[in-house]
Symmetry: C2
Subunit: 181 residues, 2 copies
């Protein structure tokens, strides 16, 4: 039987992935941002098909990744992780820079960012895997550490929203606990 608790041993960071333009953009909290090639530098981002930001990435073919700092304000998770940009403009009132492509880049609680042009898109079922070629990368704060999913979960007692690739229904964890008694 699969012990779903073992999945918590896979290490992730936490990021805000954004797309759009100056007029309208959207972003979501992602833990699945990873480099897939070095020459050229390309990054994969995994995004639920139900996610409003998906529509922006598809339309604009670019995205930004803001690397969240260890002590990111809870408000950031509320705004970008648990609310839909269909209902309000998540970027309003935020400290946003527009990248070389015009894509919005959230600077709040971020220590670095990447900007990518989408070059491939793969269907992995409930999610799209967008692969983007890196066109810009900057450090915003050298003194801070990046937030990890493990720290967010264990220390900040944060949970994953249902659209996250790493979402695990609580009943699955409980079931395993029952069976291992």
């Amino acid at each position: 039987m699969i012990n779903f608790k073992a999945l918590f041993e896979i290490t992730y960071g936490l990021y805000i992935v954004c797309s759009g333009d100056k007029r309208r953009g959207n972003g979501f909290i992602s833990n699945t941002v990873f480099q897939v090639t070095s020459e050229p530098a390309k990054f994969a981002v995994c995004c639920s098909k139900n996610n409003f930001t998906c529509e922006f990435i598809e339309k604009y073919a670019h995205f930004s990744v803001s690397v969240l700092v260890k002590n990111t304000e809870p408000e950031i998770f509320g705004r970008f992780g648990f609310k839909s940009g269909k209902d309000f403009n998540k970027l309003e009132g935020m400290n946003v820079k527009f990248g070389m492509t015009g894509t919005p880049i959230v600077l709040n609680d971020s220590l670095a960012y990447l900007e990518c042009n989408v070059v491939q898109k793969f269907d992995v079922g409930t999610h799209w895997l967008f692969v983007g070629e890196l066109i810009d990368a900057q450090i915003l704060d050298e003194t801070n550490e990046p937030l990890t999913y493990s720290y967010y979960r264990q220390i900040k007692k944060g949970i994953a929203p249902k659209n996250a690739p790493t979402y695990i229904d609580k009943s699955r964890l409980d079931r395993k606990m029952e069976s291992s008694k």
Copy 2:
């Protein structure tokens, strides 16, 4: 100009990815293992096309992921990260379990493992992205922490081999340092 140092702010774990059978198998050190969907649980693994383990994953269509512990012995990195299985059998003398698919699973310095059946394979240039459906996951050691790429790099002074998706040529880091003087 891209500041390649910003790429070190992306968080990764470190793993041994293996494939093969009882007769012959091979494994390599990977930092790009990510869950891509939750229903069903599927994982992506990024593997250089020059990597000998690629041939095994393609032939057998399954792989295992061993999650390395924080204080993994340097010998593990030498054996699985910087040598090719074309020259010798990396699994010889190791503590190996064979999974439900028959795939080898390295237990040395590992605190958990996953086993997956390959369901998709994407060409991202110099690397393949294999997507596997999870068929087994177990915890081996609940008392230990997983090794992160950042800890390996900063504390253990470890480097990435040339086949790693996150490999950065030293001249690129120096160039940036020159230009930011």
